[in-house]
Amino acid sequence: MTETRAGAVYGNNEQPLLELKNLQVGFRDGKTLIPAVNGVNLTLYPGQVVAIVGESGSGKSTTAHAIIDLLPGTGEVTGGEILFDGKKISGANRKQILALRGSSIGLVPQDPMTNLNPLWRVGTQIKEVLTVNGIAKGKAADQRVVELLTEAGLPDAEMRARQYPHEFSGGMRQRALIAMGLAARPKLLIADEPTSALDVTVQKQILDHLDTMIDDLGFAVLLITHDLGLAAERADHLVVMYRGNVVESGPALEILQDPQHPYTQRLVSAAPSLASQRLTSAARAHVREQATEAAQENLPGTQEFGQGRDLIVEVENLTKKFETQGGRPWAKEYFTAVDNISFGLPRGTTTAIVGESGSGKSTVARMVLDLLEPTEGVVRFDGVDIRSIKGKEEQLAFRRQIQPVFQNPYASLDPLSSIFDSIAEPLVVHKIGDRASQEARVRELLDKVSLPASVMPRYPHELSGGQRQRVAIARALALEPSVVICDEAVSALDVLVQSQILSLLNDLQSELGLSYLFITHDLAVVRQIADDVVVMQSGKLVEHASVAETFDSPREEYTRKLLDAIPGGSIKLG
């Protein structure tokens, strides 16, 4: 599609639609100006898709917002020029900018959940764009709204226009937002992480549809994304940003196949969708042997469980139903979140549970951790039904064996506890050692997760997301567990940090003989970390196979769909 699009417009429109010349943006904090964007150059021609790629804090969204003057309160353009259609729009007054917004430049915002007014019908919100920009009124506008929604790929558009946002799924809302962004037929659509909040299969649908719309309507797109694979797949021209600077720009494929700047090289090699191989540690081959041996040695504390079974965790016919409010107070209805799932986690290996939101994968994790009681079925830890473990000592002994690392690095540590207290808490609860030996142990654990001991007196808000996730890993390892459950443990992290954490997890697995249950929505990550894959869809197990089998010859239609949806998965690296 890249060639056809480029071909269609090539040569006719030599005037760039959008030009950023040495654009500088800063944020004012009191009297000091903190630079956020230091001189961005970017050229975009009509009908083109240009992507700005960067991690959080790289200045990519700030650049986009500067174009339509939507910088937050303290932000301002401090230098350079923005030219739209040959006219300078940086420094233009409010009225001129308002005239541009919507009619000439449309915006598709990032989070479809918060960007629609929940009290207004979806149709009314799109109609507003039409009336405000003086395109259509009354009946004609209603008619146009239906056309726009149909165009954005929403079936039954007439009915949908009368619905409220809560009746829409995330994907449908994003289509409505795209319809809104394109309502006034702008020449340029700025799409700021348009699909980051959506499931991969929905993401693919939406982006595919956007592609056909670009071909039909001929507008240009400035795509802001953190995902290099996605950018390369969808854009003609790439601009890679790093800490407020453009480090590299050029034709998308060329950059991907031959990255020149060291940062781009890092990005390309870290992008999970592009790398796609099991991370290997030197000791990887021996891990399983070691783990099995260790278990058979009947380590103190594992005595209750140390039967040296091949499957350290077994899940059998696991089902979880949640009670929901029925239509009447006395009527109870049940929602089946997990539906009769069975699988095993072989000792010393990683099994990934993959699924989209609502597939029940996190519910499985919570049941394996004994944080949630199954409605039916059994979870066995080393042969013992975990619900049958009674008594405080026995409970604690089980807890020592299995520890979680959760998704959200901003919520997984108590904001009021210091890093030392967080990591030492397991030792305190299990009454292991005195204060001095606890401190020594915390130092050792921090060293394991490659954090300096100087973070001990610090608090979670002083660390980055990746560092907090390391702390969470250190806490999980404090009790020397044999199983760690990672519930979307790297999903919230930037790709470089994510790849760092993945290799850390992998090294720790080799070193300590850990077994991982790795819950994720991201199949690309699975290939890097897992040995076996369990694919889940709406509570049911779809496929359970080794990683190689799943990726090379998926048996189920749904698995194939997931694999196809990995952004950039089809791109061959040179």
Binding site: Y242, Q395, E425
Partner: protein, 324 residues
Amino acid sequence: MPETPRPGQERFVASIEETPLRDIDVVDTTAAPESQWAEAWKRLRGRGLFWVSAVLLLGVIVMIAVPGLFTSKDPTMCDITLSLAGPAEGSPLGYNLQGCDVWSRTVYGARASVSVGIFTVLIVATIGSITGAVAGFYGGWIDSVVSRISDIFFSIPLLLAAIVMLSVVNNLFPERTFWTGVASVVLALSLFAWPQITRQMRGAVLSVKNLEFVDAAKAIGASNRRNLIKHVVPNSMAPVIVTSMISLGVFIVAEATLSFLGIGLPRQEVVSWGNDIADAQVLVRSGENLDVMFIPATALALTVLAFILLGDAVRDALDPKAKK
């Protein structure tokens, strides 16, 4: 298909000198470690509003602790011959209807008024936090029972309930001293004011208890009690602290209202702003000597304002994002 790039879209690579690579995800150790409480204090210190209220409150506190510092007169030594006499040597604000020194009564009145506010808030915050935390954390039938009981108390207007309570108590125990007088008002207000804090605490606990760090502590094997006390309650306290400060002012006003109605603090035994305002109400009708009423009223208003400003400043400090 090598295409010639269009103008402005040629391959560009920034020089490594201009865009040096940093190590990925390095820990920033430049600033000294700071807890969230310490950061909140830092933000609080930077706010003018805080200092205004702090100075006002400091004045009130000194008045309560050492009233002799401000006036040498005894507020209860009144000379009826001086009734409504104007300012004189040693009496900067003149005398009230009973011939008591207005300034001295205003200084000594702080003690009763502010005591009612502080003790009521302490009791209300304690009962409210405990019931709210337990209801929110344990849920189930405990939550139902606590919530229904607090709903019942919540549905009764605070002042009306206090009036009924106090008139009963006053009839049963007509003899009251300073402290029993204060205690009866404090209890009457506390009895019907705690559900507000309960609701707030319950709401805060409900949102905190589902955060991942609570699950992580459970997975470690921490007991429910440890989890509640160590993690959930400290992270739910901020709204309760703010409400407590603001309602401190409200309780001082409530005490004045009750005293004005004649059923609050015993008029003979206790010097309080509410009592002085009540005493001065006859003057309003005549329209003269209004300053006898305005002076205790101004003291009351400034104190209440100080607590409310402090509450606002603390809220902004604890939750800096809410302001934007």
